[in-house]
């Protein structure tokens, strides 16, 4: 017994621990991070191999079967959409045109139009240019509808926050940045065989805009806007000192891009989104103190620079005070809500009404300037509800 005990003790003494104390101490961190490292690289491999945004040759050939607007991921969706051979009309816009479904566009334009809406909130010149570039590379478009937003007064290098430019550049190594929860969800769906995309946010979007409209159509909101208008009325028309040459995003990005589309035989329609007259006062605080002058000047410069191009048309409606002066049409000062008005603006593209040309752009500009300067708030919705 005793000998066994001694023998056993000596064996215990000789036995070396598997890891040194420093290794033992560090093990939890090292093991955990090895798992994170392995997990992440595995996920990257799966996502890249699946290619849920169709950016590679082996990309998941996704089908667009529903009358959807993929508002949640449209900025990552440009290649998927532009590679669909059946689509011949693209709407490239911002939040002012995000409400149109492909069917709305097809119905308004008539004929054999198969349309898709690539509008997303808060576009900036650089990302707009990337979207148009991807369309030029991949799409078999016959018509492209572009919105000429106020953002064209900005620097051409400005990019929308969160725009995935890494998906559309030549550099492959930065594609790893696409691996996030959104991509994982898309990859998972593709792996499960769901190759047709369903945004399922149309209902939510409709509710969102309706809620916005209801909360905007309040006497208190109008009083607030009225106070802003009265305070800045004397300075709203202050000259910006800018000239046509200073709109680099127009001169260096949009106009050359349109020219290329035209050379390829694509019809280009440019929509000038309807901004309320109150918007020029309201957005002075976060865009520019000379917003009115810059926006109108950029429009004039743009129209004149593309006026000689065939197959390019510009449409505008906001020189009519019944449209842009009536806040009952809007869900906020910069976004139209009135469904009838929204339909009419699209239909104008087929009836060719409300065209803006070099011949009438100055008169158009003068009208808006005058209307904005003398603007008194009008709201047909509140008037109607008050009468009831």
């Amino acid at each position: 017994m005793g000998a066994e005990h001694v023998h056993g003790r000596s064996r215990t003494l000789r036995k070396k621990p598997r890891f040194s104390p420093r290794w033992r101490a560090a093990l939890p961190m090292i093991v955990t991070f090895c798992l994170v490292w392995l997990g992440y690289l595995s996920i990257v491999t799966i996502v890249v191999a699946t290619d849920p945004y169709d950016i590679y040759r082996w990309g998941a050939r996704l089908k667009l079967t529903r009358n959807d607007v993929p508002r949640d991921i449209v900025v990552r969706w440009v290649d998927v959409v532009s590679k669909q051979s059946g689509i011949n009309t693209f709407l490239v816009g911002g939040s002012t045109t995000a409400m149109y479904s492909p069917d709305d566009i097809s119905a308004a334009l008539g004929g054999n139009v198969v349309a898709y809406n690539l509008s997303y909130g808060g576009p900036r010149p650089m990302d707009r240019d990337i979207v148009l570039d991807q369309l030029a590379i991949n799409a078999q478009a016959k018509r492209i509808i572009i919105t000429f937003d106020w953002m064209y007064i900005l620097d051409p290098e400005k990019m929308r926050q969160g725009f995935p430019e890494y998906l559309y550049d030549e550099e492959v190594s930065d594609d790893i940045r696409m691996v996030d929860l959104k991509s994982l969800r898309r990859t998972w769906k593709v792996l499960l065989g769901e190759t047709s995309y369903e945004a399922q946010d149309d209902e939510g979007y409709a509710k969102f805009t309706e809620r916005q409209y209801r909360s905007f159509q309040m006497p208190a909101k109008m009083a607030e806007l009225n106070a802003v208008i009265e305070e800045y009325r004397s300075v709203v028309d202050t000259p910006s000192g800018r000239t046509c040459a200073s709109f680099n995003a127009v001169n260096e990005q949009l106009v050359p891009r349109i020219r290329k589309f035209v050379e390829k035989g694509v019809q280009v329609d440019v929509i000038i989104p309807i901004l309320s007259y109150a918007n020029y006062y309201f957005r002075m605080s976060d865009i520019s103190a000379t917003l009115l002058d810059e926006v109108l000047l950029s429009r004039r410069c743009f129209v004149k620079s593309i006026d000689t191009l065939r197959n390019v048309r510009v449409f505008a409606w906001d020189d009519d005070p019944r449209i842009a002066g009536d806040l009952g049409n809007f869900r906020d000062p910069g976004h139209v809500y009135n469904p009838e008005l929204l339909r009419r603006t699209l239909t104008s593209l087929s009836t060719a009404e409300n065209r803006l040309t070099a011949a009438n752009v100055e008169a158009y500009e003068r009208r808006i300037r005058t209307e904005v300067k003398s603007y008194r708030i009008r709201n047909s919705y509140l008037e109607r509800t008050a009468r009831k």
């Binding site: 939890p28 090292i30 490292w37 995935p164 940045r177 800045y232 002075m284 605080s285 103190a289």
Partner: protein, 522 residues
């Protein structure tokens, strides 16, 4: 590459670490440092071939001149001239490539001189130039580590290895772009020690903890605050009106963004260096817990402060004091020459180091006047008498409140697009447009600010948290504030590992956006 790039974290770093430890354990120090040097050049390459070329030339020039300075006799009159040439090269390259002096002076008439200067400002040029300038100064005074470093570098082979060691010291990627600016006597003894040639798994654990904390600070906190900052400062730049609440939210958001951006970088730099078995000097230590501007600069970009203080403030102040003593000047001119003037110059240089802009000139002036005034007040009899009769806690609160207000205003100047935009923002902050419309929803930015400042004031910083494992060299002796029981609580346990993993995974959620660190622009 930047630290938050998944390519860096998941490929470059593991590969470099494996190559480094393989070289270290199978070949030796020199080979391991060669791995570091090569990896650092690869890390730097995406910033442009011209930037890499400029870095290599700067390394060769400073290395060559330092070697020559040590070889020359002190009595050699050409030694001083050579030193001047070396420092002249450093200053000239900064002026040429960063401040574009040639472009400013010659305009379009400078032909190829202007063309070369027209390239983008090489990343990290301010940091590695100051790094090497300090090294050159140490070589000139024959600092012990520098002498040791160059010992036995007479043959081509030993010269090559010495250059690799020097290259690793200057261009080591954790500190190449944004510092800390290190002295050789902080780096060389570590590399020379026996500890360096062994693999300590705890270094990896501590490094990973720092990286996860730093990445969270940058990617989750700073980058989520950034949109508010861009909105408010963009609007101020455009001369737009805004109500005081929005203007203040913008200014405070920038404070928080800059804090977490730089703090995140500093933590990641310490962590990365630690994974290679190296301790680096502390560069960031809860600066908003400072009780005044003088304390602030002992906590913010500390290694830059000490380099500028060493080469500029101290010599100027000593020269001023001597001049006054020799000429027996009265107290007022003595104060001006020994304190105010050196302070103003010191902060002007410190500020212009960030770039050539009038906002930086104004910022430097504000900081200089404030520092000199604070030094004057703290040295006065009245202040000392007041210290005797007031409670330290009360004094800390008052001093911190004054400091907070002034640093908020001066950082608004630092961030603004122009001096006019900063003045416009000040006007909005102090109620010039009380009825201005709401530029953005305030709930989320205010919530973000609340979280950010709670972390700043209530939680320990990374170095305090990991204090048990000596995470960094102390650059200055700084007082710790806040809850003592929260300090030194980190251990590489499963719980903390899970916490670090959560921080990392939360950061990876935002991986699609890769805004550079703010200090990368300087």
């Amino acid at each position: 590459m930047i630290f938050i790039d998944p390519l860096f974290l998941f490929l470059f770093l593991p590969v470099t670490l494996i190559a480094f430890y393989l070289a270290l354990l199978t070949r030796g120090r020199n080979e391991a440092l060669l791995v570091i040097f090569t990896a650092s050049i690869i890390f730097y390459a995406p910033y442009g071939i011209s930037s890499v070329f400029l870095l290599l030339v700067a390394l060769l020039v400073n290395f060559g001149i330092s070697n020559a300075l040590l070889a020359m006799d002190d009595s050699n009159p050409q030694r001083k001239m050579l030193y001047g040439c070396g420092q002249g090269y450093n200053i000239a390259s900064l002026c040429y490539f960063k401040y574009k002096v040639v472009t400013v002076l010659l305009g379009d008439n400078g032909d190829f001189l202007t063309d070369i200067a027209g390239v983008a400002i090489p990343a990290g040029i301010s940091f590695y130039t100051f790094h090497q300038a300090a090294f050159l100064a140490d070589a000139y005074v024959r600092e012990k580590s520098v002498v040791e470093f160059f010992e036995g570098t007479r043959s081509l082979r030993s010269g090559f290895w010495a250059f690799c060691r020097y290259g690793a010291f200057v261009s080591f990627f954790p500190q190449l772009i944004i510092g800390p600016i290190t002295y050789l006597h902080e780096f060389h003894p570590q590399v020379k020690s026996r500890k360096f040639i062994s693999f300590d798994p705890l270094n990896i654990a501590v490094g990973l903890a720092f990286i996860s904390i730093g990445m969270f600070k940058k990617v989750v906190i700073a980058d989520n605050i950034a949109p508010t900052v861009d909105l408010v400062f963009g609007a101020a730049g455009a001369g737009a009106v805004m109500d005081p609440a929005h203007a203040w939210i913008g200014a405070l958001s920038y404070m928080a963004q800059l804090y977490f951006d730089f703090s995140g970088y500093s933590d990641m730099a310490l962590g990365l260096a630690r994974m290679f078995g190296l301790l680096y000097p502390l560069n960031f230590y809860s600066p908003f817990k400072a009780n005044g501007i003088l304390d602030y600069y002992r906590r913010w970009n500390m290694t830059l402060t000490r380099v500028i203080a060493r080469f500029l403030f101290t010599p100027l102040s000593i020269a001023g004091t001597r001049y006054c003593a020799v000429h027996r000047l009265s107290p007022l001119p003595t104060q001006i020459l020994s304190l105010w003037l050196p302070m103003l110059i010191n902060f002007q240089v410190l500020s212009l180091w960030h770039g050539a802009a009038w906002t930086f000139v104004a910022f430097g002036l504000m900081q200089g006047v404030w520092s000199a005034a604070e030094a004057q007040i703290r040295g006065s009899k009245k202040y000392k008498r007041m210290c005797k009769v007031t409670s330290p806690f009360f004094r800390l609160l008052v001093e911190r409140a004054i400091f907070f207000m002034l640093i908020c205003l001066s950082l608004a100047m630092f961030r603004s697009e122009s001096v006019g935009a900063a003045l416009h923002l000040y006007a909005q902050m102090f109620g010039a447009s009380l009825d201005a419309p709401s530029a953005f929803e305030m709930r989320e930015p205010v919530l973000m600010l609340f979280c950010a400042f709670s972390i700043i004031y209530l939680l320990p910083n990374g170095v305090e948290l990991l204090g048990r494992y000596r995470p960094a060299m102390m650059t200055y002796e700084n007082k710790s504030y806040g809850f003592a029981f929260l300090r030194k609580i980190w251990r590489p346990s499963w719980g903390w590992a899970a916490f670090a993993a959560i921080l990392t995974i939360s950061s990876l959620h935002y991986v699609s956006r890769q805004p550079p660190f703010l200090y990368q622009g300087f």
